[in-house]
């Protein structure tokens, strides 16, 4: 099919828009019916299915790069690290609430994943954490010492700096970092420039403020060393809380409706305006 072409006389240059009208151009790939499904130069059914892992194809779709299997396995372990079946975690509780209200699993999981797109936790901090470590390495390579890099992130002298990728909301320390260090080591990875600097910054923060690197900081340093840019890192981790949300959804789905953590009226502390008469319309 094709869409109707321009009809009226135009007073501005619409070449850019007409070129795209009625056509989709893709550098990613697509389905040529009866021929193949193409994906970044691969025939999916011939070259990817059964030969590449899901996470290799995920990274391929996000970045256009076919990475080695061990890197995809590393990312798979990150998805395990960031998906806990704990219904107190904000995004997971969204999944529980979806289950208790009998949404579809897709609605609950998508809602939980959206909830984790937060500057406080989940996927979104990876963008800022990656940008920080990339910028920090540029500064270091220009001769700036770690103490100075950290100082730039302090609002006032003596105050703990606010660096995405270090510290975390509910606890200090992050058990996921040593777990992933072990995975990295088992997969044969050593620290590159970004991750090395990330640990130097952690050493300084531990000494001065007793704050350590969180898993976001580790992911940012490691994947920057693998030559992914901050947007690519954020994108490939978009669904990182998926399975934790799903676990919470399933558990509440398997219990009676609205029975997940029900609230009494007095569980809400109303601190607003006292009761008042409704004025008539003016």
């Amino acid at each position: 099919m094709s869409l109707p072409r321009k009809q009226k006389k135009e007073t501005v240059d619409l070449t850019f828009w007409h070129k795209r009208h009625g056509v989709i151009y893709s550098r990613k790939g697509g389905w040529v019916v009866g021929e193949a499904v193409y994906n970044h130069g691969y025939s999916m059914m011939d070259e990817l299915v059964g030969k590449a892992s899901f996470f290799q194809v995920l990274i391929l779709n996000v970045t256009g790069r076919m990475v080695e299997r061990r890197l995809a396995d590393w990312l798979e372990n990150i998805f395990i690290c960031l998906s806990w079946p704990d219904a107190r975690i904000w995004c997971n509780q969204v999944g529980s609430l979806g289950g208790t209200m009998r949404t579809s699993p897709v609605a609950a999981v998508c809602s939980g994943v959206l909830a984790a797109d937060s500057p406080m936790y989940g996927s979104a901090p990876l963008l800022a954490a990656s940008q920080f470590i990339v910028d920090a390495l540029l500064k270091k390579n220009k001769g700036m010492p770690v103490a100075e890099i950290v100082k730039l992130q302090q609002r006032r002298p003596g105050m703990p700096p606010n660096i995405v990728g270090y510290a975390r909301p509910v606890a200090s320390g992050d058990e996921r970092v040593p777990a992933m260090k072990r995975v990295s080591s088992e997969l044969g990875y050593t620290s590159g420039e970004h991750l090395t600097l990330a640990f130097e910054i952690e050493g300084f923060l531990l000494e001065k403020f007793n704050e350590s690197m969180n898993i976001g900081g580790y992911i940012a340093g490691f994947l920057s060393d693998q030559e992914f840019n901050p947007q690519e890192i954020y994108r490939m981790c978009s669904m990182v809380v998926n399975s934790g949300v799903h676990a919470c959804y399933v558990e509440s789905m398997e219990n009676p409706p609205e029975s997940f953590f029900p609230l009494r009226c007095d569980d809400i502390d109303y601190q607003g305006v006292p009761s008042r008469p409704v004025p008539a319309r003016g």
């Binding site: 099919m1 094709s2 501005v12 240059d13 619409l14 850019f16 828009w17 009625g22 056509v23 989709i24 151009y25 893709s26 550098r27 990613k28 790939g29 697509g30 040529v32 193949a36 193409y38 994906n39 970044h40 130069g41 579809s104 897709v106 609605a107 809602s111 959206l114 909301p169 509910v170 606890a171 200090s172 320390g173 992050d174 970092v177 040593p178 260090k181 072990r182 990295s184 080591s185 990875y189 050593t190 620290s191 609230l263 009226c265 007095d266 569980d267 809400i268 502390d269 109303y270 601190q271 607003g272 305006v273 009761s275 008042r276 008469p277 409704v278 004025p279 008539a280 319309r281 003016g282």
Partner: protein, 279 residues
């Protein structure tokens, strides 16, 4: 990168024992504390509001804490009608239509479309950014702000949003937001932001840029005292009816999956490098 143990300690962070709200009071039933017998919105009984006030009044009350003046209510209602349908070509509407024609679970149509309408381009994120832009700049001369921004303009491909809420659409000035802004400026509740936006647009006009729907909404929200974050969601809310209507139109069981275009190979152009990689 070897094995190591790490001390993880709970922070001494005091979490609230009860969630606080200033919006809604629920008076428990005498027989069941899980059921509310009365509900009050900012102190007004829900049934009293139903009997005597309009939907627009209660909407404003919910977000601002007080009932609006008739002029403020007129402004919101006019904006809501102006935004009620982004139209069948808008990407958010098309997301709803794709869901509809694909017979997606009907409860998903609105969330799908609203997610697309949440973007930083003509969506909720742009409205939020536009409110911040207007708040930061409305004490300055609009023409001067426009001149500064035009001087740093990046002439890339596609449209240019010289500031959040203001720019070109498909290479030109979008007529409907211009007319909507003129209409809203004629209302008694028109305030400083809408007037400043008009001056800003007048200074941009020669460059083929004008009001975007996101900018019109942002100015109204500014004038009515809404916070930037509220503006993002209210924009989604006000556009929601049209998105849902178009999605449902195609979700009808009488519409097959062929009721929308599905491009043939001639019009879905795959770059050669996507078909065969040099390796």
């Amino acid at each position: 990168m070897g094995d190591e143990k790490i001390q993880v300690r709970r922070r001494d962070l005091k979490f609230a024992t009860r969630t606080v709200t200033k919006i809604w009071e629920e008076v428990p039933s005498a027989h069941n504390p899980f059921l509310a017998e009365r509900c009050r919105c900012h102190g007004y009984d829900l049934f009293g509001l139903i009997r005597t006030r309009s939907f627009i009044d209660v909407l404003y009350l919910l977000f601002r804490g007080e009932l609006p003046s008739p002029e403020q209510a007129q402004m919101i209602e006019s904006l809501m009608i102006g935004l009620i349908n982004p139209g069948p070509r808008h990407p958010a509407t098309r997301a709803a239509m794709n869901a509809g024609v694909g017979k997606t679970n009907s409860v998903h149509i609105l969330p799908i479309a609203l997610s697309v309408l949440g973007g930083a381009y003509l969506g909720g994120e742009e409205v939020e950014a536009a409110i911040r832009f207007i708040r930061q700049n409305q004490s300055r001369e609009a023409a001067l702000v426009a001149e500064e921004l035009l001087a740093t303009r990046n002439n890339g491909e596609g449209d240019c949003h010289i500031a959040p809420g203001f720019g070109s659409r498909f290479g030109g000035i979008d007529p409907v937001p211009q007319e909507l802004a003129v209409l809203l400026c004629s209302l008694p509740a028109c305030g400083k932001a809408l007037r400043w936006g008009t001056d800003f647009v007048n200074a941009l006009g020669r460059e083929g840029m004008g009001w975007l729907a996101s900018g019109v909404a942002a100015c109204v929200f500014c004038d009515l005292g809404f916070q930037p974050q509220a503006g993002a969601g209210l924009f989604q809310l006000f556009c929601a009816p049209g998105l849902l209507a178009h999605g449902l139109e195609l979700a009808s069981p009488y519409k097959s999956i062929a009721a929308m275009p599905f491009l043939d190979e001639e019009h879905y152009v795959i770059a050669p490098e996507a078909k065969k990689r040099n390796r």
